[in-house]
């Protein structure tokens, strides 16, 4: 068993002929959630609808790409009162900006199964560079990406006017993604 693993590692290192590209996102198994604090109270929310396209081959991370679009109106902040509020003008203004988008510009290997994705995050018409560390776990033909990063909501004008007070709703929002993909071998294509 150990020898087989060694062999596979060697083959992987030899240029990826046997590696697979993970590019079939399993939307029903993937989640996009966020965590924030309100009056010091830790709360969680999620986006019920989001789409992701990605191509990731651990042997060729220079070619890795990811694109993620969240349907803002599908947000669940934890309460219906909150959900009604955040689609409004002061928060996400979903009538004009219905989608939040992340487009990768590159992926860095951090060692082991740890990586970092860099890219542009666009929310409410504002685009900013972000980076998010993530882990990649491969189980057979299934590849699982788990990562998180913290954004400051005021950088994107999420919560303007009276809501700009970060003493009540904290500025930091932790975005957590869990994306399950299936591999399609590039050879089979």
């Amino acid at each position: 068993m150990k020898k087989l693993q060694l062999l596979l590692t060697l083959l992987g290192a030899m240029g990826g002929a046997y590696a697979a590209e993970f590019n079939q996102v399993q939307a029903d198994k993937s989640t996009l959630t966020f965590a924030y604090k309100q009056m010091g109270v830790p709360l969680e929310g999620k986006f019920r609808k989001f789409g992701a396209q990605l191509a990731f081959d651990p042997a060729r991370i220079n070619a890795a790409q990811a694109r993620l679009e969240a349907d803002i109106a599908s947000i669940d902040t934890g309460s219906s009162e909150g959900n009604d509020e955040v689609v409004g003008k002061l928060w996400f203004n979903t009538k004009i900006y219905p989608v939040a988008q992340f487009v990768s510009t590159g992926v860095k290997a951090l060692g082991g199964n740890r990586y970092e994705v860099l890219g542009k995050l666009t929310i409410k018409g504002r685009s900013l560079d972000v980076s998010a560390p993530f882990t990649f776990r491969q189980e057979g033909s299934v590849g699982v990406f788990d990562g998180a990063f913290v954004l400051k909501r005021l950088d994107y004008a999420i919560g303007e006017g009276l809501w700009a007070d970060v003493g009540t709703v904290a500025n930091e929002v932790r975005i957590v993604f869990h994306i399950v993909t299936n591999a399609v071998s590039p050879i089979k294509k």
């Binding site: 009056m39 109270v41 934890g78 509020e85 009540t168 709703v169």
Partner: protein, 183 residues
Amino acid sequence: MNPSTRYTTTAMALHWLTALFIFTTFPLGVYMHELALSPLKLQLVSYHKWLGVTIFLLTVARLAWRATHVPPPLPETIPLWQQRAAHGLHFLLYVLLLTIPLTGWLMSSAKGFPVVYLGLVQLPDLVGKDKVLGDLLAEVHEMLNFGLLALVGMHIAAALKHHFIEHDDTLRRMLPSGKRVES
């Protein structure tokens, strides 16, 4: 007034602090409930929860005091049935001062908003997020509060009646100073 016929300073402090906090927390609860979502509402809801936890803690301290002290007796001039009614009322007040914060805490958990006391200490969620349970607990919390309102009204009316109509020492037992009413 003989000190042994008055509550101790500790007992008085706990009683009057509880009174102060009830008269803050109750109207705050009614007011914030009607507000549209805003930072102010979120702040007031938090303060309401912190006050509720404080009342619970004060009540636990008062029960500890009761367990280790004998309260000053009611004036002998009060008929036995009234004394019993007073004790029954006090018992019910203690029950509500414990169960109202408890239902508030459980309601918070069921609604998915944990209580973080003073923004520092997070209370555990004894129940998971459950909208139906949350709405039910909100009803119970409100109902118990209107029960508390009625009982506090009776408590105050009785104290004032004894003080101003009967001219006895019932209320003075809970007052920090003041001379004995000579009757």
